[in-house]
Symmetry: C2
Subunit: 448 residues, 2 copies
């Protein structure tokens, strides 16, 4: 019985007005607490019991707050945060070839990657995101930057059929991928994935090598797939096959596949994803902004495909706001499915947390508030005008909450945001570097 | 020359890092100031010149801020803010008939209208909205509440073919409409419009009466029109005519018409709107959430229809966030048009300001920062991580800015929000009343 015997020690006890554990699905627990020890969740229990059972090193009490699992941004190119809004409202090819690629060619280097990711980490933490699925060049720098800030990430090991600042040819891409993977294989926060860019930029031979190595290293394969109708049409025209069919022929449509975008899908392709256990990452705002198309999210969910949510990079969004992205996902899915009951608030929140955890291959350690999982946790303040009156907590989180209502965030039990202040990041220095990059990029644009 | 002679008196000088006047279109003025006298804008000029030319009663300096016209929420049911999230993720008919209407039947009365509008005004001001196009029952209470808080509004005079708490029959609707109109006809802040509910709830006879009276009283006609495919199909089935064709037959498709939603439009209907000067209010988030359909915004803009943006009521959105709504409008229009260049950031911001001003019939007094217009102004802070680096101001406002970055708001030169604090509203009291309504509505839901 609670109250008998000596209290159990824990490092941190977080009491909240409501806890939404995500698993079990759709549940809201009023006046509950979470006990954290050694970075992990040891108990989720009524607040009154928690005080009796635990002797906590620290108690954080948020009676107007909702405690949720940290959000997982399941597809992002965080160095591109420095390119936020540099070119908008342009046709896709002009945007890429006339702006994004030339600027990237001039800036991609370790400092760009590190500074962009630092800005992104600060933005993510302030918005309740505690883990991301990164996809860019210089995964060594990415991994070191995430680790330095205690931020949980899966970093992609890029493979693309042309030379970049990161590698000059196939062998160098794979050699460097192996090195980065080896360096981070046992890290508790940062891990790697293969990140072949897209079907139209990676050869069959390289995809086969990736399939073999991904099995061997036990990592996900993070791939842009069926992003636009143009991609699918071109593949059919040049190779006589839709990209998913080609990926299937190469053995890549399986439970390691993290398929991003997926706006063009036949019923057969949807069924194939369900059958093979592939995860789909939905990036609704990027798909809208680039006019890529509409992913059939409700149908994917209906047949049991695990869905995650990503913001994509800041050049096509233009933020890393997972509250906003989740809301857009929930809203858009209904209109696409012509069903106002489709992809409800609890399902959208699940995609943004546990679905994301599945996408990054961390579903055993994050994505829900369950004993045994890591304490990646976020508090959202409901005592603001914009979330009053509070009729239903999960509905409010998805349809009315702004990311600025996030007050606290922990990763593996370590406080990263406290009453809206970043605990261990120098915000002024990050802002100053962002301003320097603005100057430098403006210079590049002027001299082109 | 500036500096010669005695300085001109003004009440308020607002200096900003950037001013986006909206008219001229797409312009960004760095380091400018706006001088305000007797509630109106007297000058927009470089900051250095402003200090020399004016002796200001007050100077507000926001070097990291962007000064924009106050946003206009061109379609809302603000008393329903008290129903935020009360029922979500339901098929339309179940949502309306099983939840919204029964709750409304139990609560609609002057206190519900006044309390809901007070909460809404506070939320709107904190989010940079300074004017709204209201559509609900008890327009007398609405008008008095907006006036009491110095908030600019066009309140709808409801007409609907069945009895409600506001009126029992046709004559009472029209009598009361006339009374409310007479009371507010000369007010500088609050005016009226006719607000027939929808083609499927208002008879030909009542529409004809509205057309005649709207001309006579010189007010807009604010109408839900072509919101869903179901509405259009039913009209064709029962009356053999699409609703817009019927409205045209009744003489209502003209420059007084403020047509809300418009998700189902033929090319002929789009051309008709352009030709007749009707304004279209786009409510993208409500259209998505209720699975109503997609408005062809880019096509409407292309042929010259004036577009405005509205949140709709909080039961189908679930907020009054015009920054979020404008962003959704800009993103969604591109995917619907299959053109990433469609409805660019400057066009979306114009719809949210000058377009809204046109919708409420106040285009001569608000919607842009021009001498002679009223000083309905808003400052947005760009010195936050989420809007850095700042490559392009208008792009940032539309694609990356959150409403919590609004720091200051004025209506007719009167400060309503100052460094994020509501100047003359009792936030704690508003929150307390919202909590009381939550209890009362929960009681209604339990006893049904």
């Amino acid at each position: 019985m609670a109250g008998e015997g000596a209290p159990e020690r824990c490092d941190l006890l977080i009491e909240a007005g409501w806890v939404v554990p995500v698993e079990p699905h759709g549940v809201v627990l009023a006046d509950h607490a979470v006990a954290v020890r050694d970075g992990g969740i040891v108990a989720l229990l009524p607040r009154a019991e928690a005080r009796a059972r635990f002797a906590a090193g620290e108690v954080v009490s948020r009676p107007d707050g909702v405690l949720i699992p940290g959000l997982v941004n399941a597809h992002t190119h965080n160095p591109m945060t420095l390119l936020r809004g540099v070119a908008d409202d342009l046709p896709l090819q002009e945007w890429l070839q006339g702006h994004i690629w030339p600027i990237e060619a001039a800036v991609i280097a370790p400092d760009f990657v590190a500074d962009g990711i630092e800005l992104a980490i600060a933005e993510m933490l302030r918005g309740g995101t505690t883990c991301c699925n990164e996809n860019y060049f210089f995964p060594d720098v990415q991994a070191a930057t995430y680790k330095r800030h205690g931020f949980r990430a899966r970093v992609g090991l890029p493979v693309i059929d042309f030379p970049t600042a990161w590698a000059k040819g196939d062998d160098e891409y794979f050699d460097k991928a192996g090195e980065v993977h080896d360096q981070w294989r046992d890290d508790p926060l940062v891990a790697t994935a293969f990140a072949p860019h897209a079907p139209y930029t990676v050869s069959d031979a390289n995809f086969e090598r990736i399939r073999m190595l991904a099995d061997q290293l036990d990592v996900p394969v993070h791939l842009h797939l069926h992003e636009t109708a143009h991609e699918v049409e071109e593949a059919q025209r040049t190779a006589g096959q839709r990209p998913i069919a080609r990926m299937d022929r190469l053995g890549l449509v399986n439970d390691r596949l993290v398929a991003v975008h997926m706006t063009q899908l036949t019923n057969g392709e949807i069924a194939l994803c369900a059958q093979r256990g592939a995860t789909v990452v939905h990036c609704p705002e990027s798909n809208l902004k680039l006019a890529s198309g509409f992913s059939p999210v409700a149908e994917l969910a209906r047949v049991g495909v695990v869905l995650a949510i990503g913001t994509d990079g800041c050049a096509s969004n233009n933020d890393l706001d997972m509250f906003g992205e989740t809301r857009t996902a929930a809203l858009l899915a209904k209109a696409v499915a012509r069903d106002a009951a489709a992809f409800d608030a609890a399902s959208a929140l699940r995609a943004a947390t546990l679905g994301g955890a599945r996408a990054v291959g961390f579903e055993d350690r994050i994505g829900s508030i369950e004993p045994g999982k890591q304490a990646d946790l976020v508090v959202v303040d409901m005592a603001q005008l914009e979330t009053q009156p509070l009729h239903h907590v999960v509905s409010q989180l998805v349809y009315a909450t702004g990311r600025h209502q996030v007050t606290d965030a922990w990763i593996a039990g370590r406080a990263k945001l406290r009453e809206r202040r970043l605990v261990d990041m120098d915000e002024a220095a990050i802002m100053a570097r962002a301003r320097q990059w603005r100057q430098r990029i403006a210079g590049i644009e002027q001299t082109r």
